[in-house]
């Protein structure tokens, strides 16, 4: 009986990862014009995937969150000693579920908010392929498998930005692609170097973690550099962040949400899962660099936000700042810092994802995101205005909401970094990062003040709406007033889970900390052993 349950739950990860592809397959047989059926299949597939994810969550043994569960080790590419190894532990479980939930909710949101280029068949297919890549990255326990999944997301996102994006989409999509490709090329070389330095026996994480620590100090530093390039570009860390504002601004709402909520986490996750445990000495050498760049990112991102005139671009820059906090947490190499980092990843995914949803909806209503043209949202659309306020508060790290638990412990952890890292340096970083939170409050509140408070601007406050059905909607230059309405039911469905989770995680962070604490402590312990 026990074996039966075991074997039943072992393939659950594979189902969760590859189920979306079945949906893509099914969609291929539906004519392009049957949009309702296509959207239905897409949402049903994503929903089924999420259901599998929730079952995984239920079957997950929370007392053993430090161990890999639902572990599968099957033959894949024997010649290069790479195997299909998947497993889930406390570090990845949150992100794994988040990726499924975000994809599902984004698809629900797309039900009647398709970007202008249309063609839901291609759009939904790409989102499902993205989902496979994201979920796969979080469960992969083999370096080559990880690399493949890590790269699978590249093309769908490229097309999402390139086809359904804004005016400058060509430039933005190519920039996104080339930056990421650049990073991954070096990452791959680093992976291979790691493989050969550990005796060319296996690409499995467990093996590499065990053997990686015995690599020469200098070699570790070099291999870490290669991985750093790959992951830091994905995060993105200053100074590799320049693709992000462009990609975010140009991407369709759905693309921005997935990009912010999940894709950026692939980079930070890579640091925690691969770079740190496999190359302990490299990590200690690089930690100050990561810390400094992270804090520069925090300040730079915040200042960048203050200078923005476009709401979406502002949110994009705030991502740079927030990912800075995550990286600062990681760079301290303390259990607290890494815990905060992982919490921050999930929290940022929820909050910034939500902010991008809002930006998309505002754009949909006002046909502009220029901050100075927007005002009085609270008067015109009180519910949307309040949700924006709520998310801005969550984003600036208000205690009681999820954002706080990513930022505050990260800053705190910098007070006493681990493994002999310079206390002076990290305490300085701590102070600067703390200033960053003030700036964050500044730009977010200022944004909120400018867009939500005040009177409704002249431009959008025209006379009462046109009579319905008078054909005004067909005219692209018609009065904006007709589009301005409060939150729609579809939006409520897509957003409520985000909002609830932000509150729940804010009030009861133990929910997530409890799951990941054990594996993080194990990770840091192993680092300690390796560093003697």
């Amino acid at each position: 009986m026990e074996i039966l349950t075991d074997s039943a739950s072992n393939w659950i990860l594979s189902v969760g990862v590859f189920l979306p592809l079945l949906g893509v397959l099914a969609m291929m047989f539906v004519p392009k014009t049957d949009e309702v059926l296509i959207k239905g299949i897409g949402i049903a597939t994503a929903g089924a995937t999420l259901a599998v994810g929730i079952v995984t969550l239920i079957l997950f043994d929370y007392d053993k969150s430090g161990e890999l569960q639902f572990f599968v080790d099957a033959e894949w590419i024997e010649v290069i000693n790479s195997r299909y190894v998947v497993g889930l532990d406390g570090i990845s479980v949150g992100l794994y579920i988040l990726s499924m939930a975000v994809t599902f909710l984004t698809m629900v949101y797309s039900w009647n908010n398709m970007p202008a280029a249309g063609n839901p068949k291609a759009f939904f297919s790409l989102m499902l392929i993205l989902q496979t890549g994201m979920a796969g990255t979080f469960v992969a326990q083999d370096l080559i498998l990880f690399f493949v999944f890590f790269e699978v997301v590249l093309l769908p996102m490229y097309f999402m930005i390139g086809v359904w994006g804004g005016e400058d989409r060509k430039y933005a999509s190519l920039k996104f692609f080339l930056f990421t490709m650049f990073g991954s090329a070096f990452m791959l070389v680093a992976f291979l170097a790691l493989y050969f330095q550990t005796g060319a026996e296996s690409f499995g994480f467990a093996h590499l973690i065990e053997m990686g620590q015995s690599i020469d100090h200098d070699v570790q530093v070099w291999i870490f550099a290669g991985m750093f390039l790959g992951f830091a570009i994905k995060v993105p860390m200053f100074p590799f962040h320049t693709w992000l504002p462009d990609a975010h601004t140009q991407a369709p709402t759905e693309g921005s949400v997935i990009l912010a909520a999940i894709l950026l986490k692939l980079g930070t996750y890579g640091f925690v899962r691969i770079a740190l445990p496999m190359l302990p000495e490299g990590a200690v050498e690089w930690a100050p660099v990561i810390g400094i760049l992270a804090v520069i990112g925090i300040i730079y991102g915040a200042l960048g936000c203050l200078a923005q005139t476009d709401m979406k671009r502002l949110i994009a820059f705030s991502s740079v700042a927030h990912m800075g906090f995550v990286m600062l947490g990681i760079s301290t190499l303390t259990p607290l810092g890494i815990n905060a980092a992982i919490f921050g990843m999930v929290a940022h995914g929820l909050i910034t994802g939500m902010l991008f949803f809002l930006a998309g909806s505002i754009k949909h209503r006002y046909h502009t995101l220029e901050i100075k043209r927007l005002s009085g949202m609270l008067l015109q659309m009180p519910r949307l205005g309040w949700i924006l306020g709520f998310c801005a508060m969550a984003s600036l790290g208000l205690p009681g909401l999820a954002g706080f638990w990513g930022e505050f412990p990260a800053i705190l952890s910098a007070y006493s970094p681990n493994f002999g890292l310079s206390e002076e340096l990290f305490r300085t970083l701590m102070v600067v990062a703390a200033i960053g939170t003030v700036l964050a409050a500044g730009y977010l509140l200022w944004l909120y003040q400018r867009t939500a408070f005040g009177e409704v601007s002249e431009e959008f406050s025209g006379p009462t709406p046109h009579p319905v059905g008078a054909g005004v909607n067909d005219d692209p230059h018609h009065d904006h007033q007709a589009d301005i309405h409060d939150v729609t039911p579809i939006e409520w469905i897509a957003w409520t889970p985000f909002l609830i989770t932000i509150v729940v995680l804010g009030v009861y962070p133990q929910l997530l900390f409890g799951v990941m604490d054990q594996p993080v402590i194990d990770l840091v312990d192993r680092l300690g052993v390796a560093l003697g």
């Binding site: 392009k32 033959e75 894949w76 590419i77 024997e78 010649v79 290069i80 291609a122 080559i144 690399f147 493949v148 999944f149 790269e151 699978v152 590249l154 093309l155 490229y158 097309f159 390139g162 086809v163 989409r169 060509k170 999509s173 190519l174 692609f177 080339l178 490709m181 650049f182 090329a185 070096f186 791959l188 070389v189 291979l192 170097a193 493989y195 050969f196 060319a200």
Partner: protein, 504 residues
């Protein structure tokens, strides 16, 4: 009389392993049958020749398969000059399958263009025969004969559109530079023969010893490698490729850039592993430089192309650099095994992907009647299936997982890094940068397909002939399957499969 002469010369008829020679024999018979049928058949029924040629290719594939199933040890003939081992078999299969796909791609093109169909296919089979022989040739003379047998028909095929100036230019350029390269190669071979007193690769291998090489041997090695560098369009011997590729009929271009190039690599790999293991001091730096130059210059020039076929020409040059890269460490005792494996696996995956890319270009240009990249605009709108296929092939060429190309590139990197020398890390870094540059132009093409509008506003759907659909199907499925399950081909090209190879 003859008998007494033979007795005097003390000549013994070699034992011939008919089973081992069966693929070649099928092709030889095929050439004659096609030629005969072409003479007798009515003009309106010439289409049947393409089908027949296809069957000849598949027919030749049968003994290859049976040999692979039966053969546990390699079959050596003519005193080791002609060897059928696993290495030869997988490459024969590659050439025959490639030829089959190219026939599918040429069929409608030739029928509609009113070309000389019979002659076209006869020449193509002759060229394929040369390639099939090349994979077994283990002797300077048989390598040279195979090389000429595969090249000379190809010169004519390149000039097939004889009323088109560009096609004539393509043929002449290819011919002149090809002959020049053959001369260099032959000169190098004669020097090697002079010092080793044998044309057998294994004998030459025994005569070359690192550190004790004499000047003549060094020159011989360098000339032989440069001769093949032309065939594989390695920089700086690449200048014929873009013009020839652009001018030749597109199926012929596919043939040149896949099959003919693969044959060059096969010969190069055989010679390096069997004859030159003792000359690694000479060829390793040479190949290192060739590989670095080839990938970099091919890529940089590809960035500037506006014609899709020229773009594919330069891309295929830069891909050559990636295939060449592991050979720069073939003498390294750690990397030797993975180097041969990397070359063979790369050739297999690259063949599928690049053929697919050309098949999409042929399919699209049937409608657009243009080779400009900008003419591909709007493809995603009016021919989404074709757009997706093109995306698969170009992304695979760029090396994006989970499409075949990633494993080919990965394997190449692996072979190089296996050497664990500074030179290896430097070359791997150059290759990594090149991967990004290459992604730049591949993605630009995809962007045009997906994002831009149709330039002439013509969005009528494309009608793709069945043979091309078949070719697209085979290559697309192959590219995806090999990307997800690279283990299917990853074991080919093992060092032990190549009889007489240098074993560290």
């Amino acid at each position: 009389m003859l008998a007494s002469l033979l007795a005097q010369a003390d000549w013994v008829a070699p034992t011939i392993d008919w089973h081992a020679l069966a693929p070649e024999l099928v092709l030889v018979v095929g050439i004659n049958v096609i030629l005969g049928v072409d003479l007798l058949i009515d003009e309106s029924k010439k289409w049947a020749i393409a089908t027949m040629t296809g069957f000849v290719m598949l027919g030749a594939l049968v003994p290859v398969v049976t040999l692979a199933v039966v053969g546990d040890d390699s079959r050596s003939m003519f005193g080791g000059r002609y060897v059928v081992d696993e290495y030869a078999l997988i490459l024969k299969a590659l050439f025959l399958l490639t030829a089959y796909i190219i026939i599918l791609m040429s069929q409608t093109e030739l029928e509609e263009g009113g070309y000389y169909q019979g002659e076209f296919y006869v020449l193509m089979v002759a060229s394929v025969l040369g390639m099939v022989m090349m994979s077994s040739a283990r002797d300077l003379v048989s390598i040279f004969v195979a090389l000429e047998l595969l090249s000379i028909p190809a010169y004519m095929l390149a000039a097939w559109n004889k009323r088109d100036v560009k096609s004539n230019e393509a043929g002449v350029k290819y011919y002149l530079l090809g002959v020049f390269a053959s001369a260099i190669l032959l000169y190098g071979m004669s020097l090697l023969f002079g010092t080793a007193n044998s044309t057998l690769l294994t004998d030459i291998g025994a005569s070359l010893v690192d550190g004790e090489l004499v000047g003549l041997q060094v020159v011989g090695v360098v000339f032989v490698i440069c001769g093949f560098a032309f065939k594989i369009s390695a920089v700086p011997f690449h200048s014929w490729a873009p013009d020839t590729y652009e001018g030749a009929p597109t199926p012929v271009t596919a043939f040149l850039s896949v099959a003919s190039k693969a044959a060059g690599f096969v010969a190069l790999a055989t010679i390096i592993f069997v004859a030159f293991p003792g000359a690694s001091d000479v060829y390793e730096p040479l190949v290192w430089v060739l590989a670095a130059l080839t990938m970099t210059i091919g890529n940089v020039l590809a960035l500037r192309q506006t014609n899709i076929v020229r773009l594919l020409a330069y891309s295929s040059i830069s891909q050559s650099g990636f295939i060449l890269m592991p050979l720069a460490f073939a003498g390294n005792e750690r990397a030797a095994g993975s180097a041969l494996n990397a070359v063979v696996v790369y050739l297999l995956i690259y063949a599928l992907t690049n053929l697919g890319a050309f098949a999409t270009v042929i399919a699209v240009s049937r409608k657009t009647r243009s080779g400009e990249i900008s003419s591909l605009g709007g493809l995603f709108g009016y021919a989404p299936g074709l757009a997706v296929a093109m995306t698969i092939f170009f992304a695979s060429l760029a090396g994006v997982p989970p499409l075949g190309g990633w494993f080919a590139k990965f394997n190449s990197f692996r072979a190089v890094l296996d050497a664990e020398t500074t030179a290896a890390y430097v070359l791997a870094t150059i290759a990594a940068v090149n991967t990004v540059i290459a992604a730049g132009y591949y993605m630009r093409v995809l962007r045009v397909i997906w994002v831009e509008e149709a330039p002439d506003g013509d969005v009528s759907p494309v009608r793709i002939p069945t043979p091309i659909v078949t070719a697209l199907g085979i290559t697309a499925v192959g590219t995806i399957v090999l990307g997800v399950l690279p283990g299917l081909v990853a074991r080919f090209g093992d060092l032990q499969d190549l009889t007489g190879a240098f074993a560290p």
